[in-house]
């Protein structure tokens, strides 16, 4: 069973490799056999704008990955919630009930 822990990465790998295969395999076509990549790209979007957006999204996704792993790890360490805390959605009632003891004001 311990080996299956590492299986958590397998869907991610399958997803990524599938994406690479689809994106690289279709070159030099955007629509296979109909439209070439060289005919499809925007003339007015400069290389600088593409680099800017790529760097921006890389940074955002890196930040979100760190936040996601941090929060997920906390949840895993915490373990399952007991009967009273099965609903963890931030309702107003829930906030009022727990705000005094949980939130430092």
């Amino acid at each position: 069973m311990r080996a299956f822990v590492f299986a958590v990465f397998l869907p991610q790998l399958a997803n990524q490799f599938g994406w690479y295969t689809a994106e690289m395999g279709r070159q030099p076509w955007v629509v296979y056999g109909l439209l070439r990549t060289s005919e499809a790209f925007s003339q007015v979007v400069t290389a600088g704008q593409i680099v800017f957006s790529l760097i921006l999204f890389t940074l955002i996704y890196a930040l979100l990955l760190v936040l996601f792993l941090y929060l997920l790890n906390k949840k895993i360490v915490h373990g399952p919630y007991d009967e009273d805390h099965t609903s963890h959605s931030p309702t107003l009632e829930g906030w009022q009930k727990h705000s005094n003891k949980k939130i430092k004001r």
Binding site: S42, Q43, V44, V45, T46, Q49, F52, S53, L56, F57, I60, L64, L67, L71, P90, T91, L92, W95, Q96, S99, K102, I103, K104, R105
Partner: protein, 161 residues
């Protein structure tokens, strides 16, 4: 020309897309407004109430924009291509703020620390304001008219707004 219910296709698509973007403007205007107002609400309880008011509907409202964009792509692909290429930077920033707005709503209650909540409050409110500003930039440019050349691409520099 092909017609449906006596209306030709371009007019029909124009009506559909107009209806979708109007619906988006009205519905998401409500929750972007609630987000823009967020930092001006001083009490945590007021902020919680404002968040809960948009909580069940904000993501549904955004779908109107997604469908509007999809309809534009299907109905007037050249308009879609020209506008999204010409307004590349505003649309990229629009996506960035959409991400931060959604993440802020989800993450702000995940940690009890005050700085954590403050951080996401600012992110949420600033994103909401910037989304409205960027939509204004795009729609303003479209309404004013953009110099689109024969190759259906924007003429001149990419930074015309």
């Amino acid at each position: 020309m092909e017609t449906f219910l006596g209306i030709d296709y371009p007019t029909l698509w124009f009506l559909v897309i107009g209806g979708l973007f109007s619906g988006y403007g009205i519905l998401d205007g409500f929750d972007l407004g609630a987000g823009a107002w967020h930092l001006f609400l001083r009490k945590e309880e007021s902020r919680r109430i404002a968040l809960n008011a948009v909580g069940p509907v904000w993501d549904g409202n955004e779908v109107w924009l997604v469908i509007g964009g999809g309809a534009l792509f299907a109905g007037f692909p050249i308009v879609y291509a020209s506008v999204l290429s010409a307004m590349y930077i505003p649309f990229i920033l629009f996506l960035v703020f959409l991400i931060f707005r959604a993440v802020s709503i989800e993450f702000r209650s995940k940690e009890p620390m005050l700085w954590w909540r403050k951080m996401w409050d600012i992110s949420y409110s600033v994103s909401s304001i910037m989304l409205a500003v960027l939509l204004g930039v795009v729609l303003g440019n479209v309404l004013q008219g953009m110099p689109i050349g024969k190759n259906t691409e924007l003429e001149g520099a990419g930074w015309r707004f």
